[in-house]
């Protein structure tokens, strides 16, 4: 090597590395910064509205006073309903795709369909729910219609995450169970599913967070601007946090006067969704202990 080349090459490599690291750091910092800014903005504006009464009372005086209790309850009920819809369907489809289906055009079509479904705008799901559940099946604008619509919305996510988790369980688990005289369903139920469950549940809970935060699918199918009472059946309309925020910010009598309620509701929704994600991480960590392969 030429004597002069040594120092030159090293310096240039060093400069390049510094530049690359700087760019990567900037990108990471920027995305983190934007997220932090949103959270800080909502917290700063939302915290003044928070109080025990805000969380436990019904709205009063054209939403400009009182609390958001029915909206919290409605969102939780809708999210749970969505999960009850999507979990059996999604897990079933994932087990079929990962364990039973022989590769072929049909399976490719199903998998493509699932992937495409995940990219459909949520407002389309809302209109679909309106036409199928609300009108055709006659469920009306109700907790049921909203839950089913949200369930369909998160179905692709739940299915894809569950299939991925199932595929990641080693084939050797299956072989071992079969070699011990299990039939295929026993092998899946007793060995593959328990091993894949943390991953499957994580996907489901993350999807649940998304269901809780969606607005468009429930605007047409489930949400009321205001209810006097909590729902006493699945055929009742419910209030929900995302639509409550939308209504206050666009439709209410006193848009400016309800700003604190808007930010307060946004903060509660944010905490709810982040709480669910944290819960998902804790569940996964707990179930995975001593189960790595």
């Amino acid at each position: 090597m030429l004597e002069a080349q040594k120092g030159f090459g090293r310096q240039r490599r060093y400069r390049e590395q510094k530049l690359a690291f700087l760019a990567i750091r900037l990108a990471a910092g920027l995305s983190l910064g934007v997220m932090a800014a949103i959270i800080i903005y909502i917290v700063v504006n939302g915290v003044p509205a928070l109080s025990w009464a805000f969380l436990t009372e019904f709205p009063r005086d054209n939403m400009s006073a009182g609390g958001i209790f029915p909206a919290i309850v409605g969102t939780v009920l809708l999210a749970v309903g969505a999960l009850l819809t999507a979990l059996p369907l999604g897990f079933g489809a994932a087990i079929y795709l990962a364990e039973y289906a022989r590769p072929g055009p049909l399976v490719t079509a199903i998998r493509l369909g699932v992937a495409n479904l995940a990219g459909v705008p949520s407002v389309v799901f809302g209109l679909f729910g309106l036409s199928l559940f609300v009108t055709t099946l006659g469920f009306g604008r109700s907790l049921l219609s909203g839950s089913l619509t949200l369930g369909l919305l998160i179905l692709p996510t739940v299915t894809a995450a569950a299939e991925e988790a199932l595929r990641q369980t080693p084939a050797s688990f299956r072989e071992a169970a079969l070699a011990l005289g299990a039939n295929r369903w026993q092998a899946i139920r007793q060995v593959v599913l328990p091993a894949a469950l943390p991953g499957m549940l994580t996907g489901a809970i993350l999807a649940l967070g998304r269901a809780a935060g969606e607005t468009a699918p429930i605007v047409f199918t489930a949400s009321a601007a205001y209810t006097l009472l909590l729902p006493d059946s699945i055929y009742r309309e419910v209030m929900a946090l995302p639509t409550h925020i939308l209504n206050l910010a666009t439709n209410s009598v006193h848009i400016e006067a309800t700003r604190p309620q808007q930010f307060g509701s946004a903060l509660v929704l944010l905490v709810l969704v982040l709480g669910l994600s944290t819960f998902a991480i804790v569940v996964r960590a707990k179930l995975r202990r001593g189960r790595q392969w």
Partner: protein
Amino acid sequence: MVAEPQTIIEARNVDFYYGDFHALKNVSINIAAQEVTAMIGPSGCGKSTFLKLLNRMNDFTPGARLAGEIFISGASIYGPDADPVDIRRRVGMVFQRPNPFAKSIYDNICYGPRLVGIRKPQDLDVLVEKALRAAALWDEVKDILSKSAMELSGGQQQRVCVARALALEPEILLMDEPTSALDPIATAKVEEWIKNANLTIVIVTHNMQQAARISDRTAFFFMGELVEFGPTMELFTRPQETQTENYITGRFG
């Protein structure tokens, strides 16, 4: 005078295909009870394929096709009356890589017995201890039975798999390169176990020294054919076929 050993596995004119690939060609062999039979040969020679036919693990391979017959204790295992699940309970298998379930050591051993309906804790306790003793693992794990089997060392995991298979008290144990993922010390422990086991064992290995160390008889497979089969000492010292000689002297492989 040595009594002629009793045949427990008999394969008659077995041909096996993966789709268009002719994986086994007219293989006939009698495997003796209570002996260790080693199957050697280069990669792709059909030795693992043959092993998996013995407990019908090839049933799950799409496009697989079998011709010929295999008998275990006189009964055809591919005949119309044969129940694959029942066969797998009588013919245990240990795989190439240790594959304990993501469950406790205790639950791993109990998996097979529970499948056949043994549920009483006191019965299971007895079976677990017996199986772990038989796999020479009891002393190492008796105080940590509720620990996940995943936390054990590779050699211990493989012996958990052996114990798990033994818990069903199989007539035959198939081992598919059981030490290829293990370090030398763990390998030595598993080999020692095989030598002392009071059981019919069929072991596939790509390690000729291992076959020589632990087996009573050795079968040499090449390109889907059973080239030579005989007492291990004879096969390694006085091979009858040129291909066998070339393989065991390292001329190819």
